[in-house]
Amino acid sequence: MKLEGKVALVTGGSRGIGREIALQLAKEGANVVVNYAGSEAKANEVADEIKSLGREAAAIQGDVANADAVAEMIKETVDRFGRLDILVNNAGITKDNLLMRMKESEWDDVINTNLKGVFLCTKAVSRQMMKQRSGRIINISSVVGVSGNPGQANYVAAKSGVIGLTKTAAKELAPRGITVNAVAPGFITTDMTDKLTEEVKTEMLKQIPLARFGEPGDIAKVVVFLASEDSSYMSGQTLHVNGGMVM
């Protein structure tokens, strides 16, 4: 096991990619805090599944876009587990609309959760990780943050911003033994992508050289790599896990 005794926090860990990341980290030996915004029952299920693997787990509610909630969540994690080694900034929402139709509130909500949330969580954990002189921060970006995507100006701006934030955090925190990397998933089968029409899905599939949609596990395995000692000489990087969709 690669993460024995480590403590991880996964934001948006109750469903989709975050859920799989939380489970995979636990399988590698980490104790995991599953953050969720609204899906309490699902978050508890993930925590129970982690406990059944023989690890410790807790489900903690908290809106990543709210600085006080984030500070409270990090404090609770450190109080309970004594340390914090791995932060996975995964929480994300979509509110798609064409640029011309996009409401200011749709823009703000997505930027607040998907970009500001990463800033707030990174800021809050960096204190603990600086004290420990070690830490791994892994941000979940998106293929569209690199390629652009019609109807997702807010989401794309946030996910692209995450890549820049990753690089800056990596440079600032490197002297204290903390690495910061990003993963940019392509089309992954989750609740978020189930909302798309069959027509859109068929069209997207044509753009994927490996000719299949990804599974949450495809992303979680790469996150485990970035959380482990195997990636200790990597920082500020974005790993593209998209079936070759964008190269």
Binding site: R127, M130, K131, E172, P175, R176
Partner: protein
Amino acid sequence: MADVLERVTKIIVDRLGVDESQVTLEASFKDDLGADSLDVVELVMELEDEFNMEISDDDAEKISTVGDAVNYINSQV
């Protein structure tokens, strides 16, 4: 006062690897004691732990000399 200065001095000496004689009230962390921005952030974190207090980001930004740190701590206890 003396006690606060003594404790602050010890943390600075440990953290920045400077000689105790360099740690005067007028000494600037960055200009005189060789600290970079991240060192100052860490010093503030250690002062918070040592004196069991929380120093807000706004207040922390005003601390640039040893005297600033000592005065701030004295004003809070």
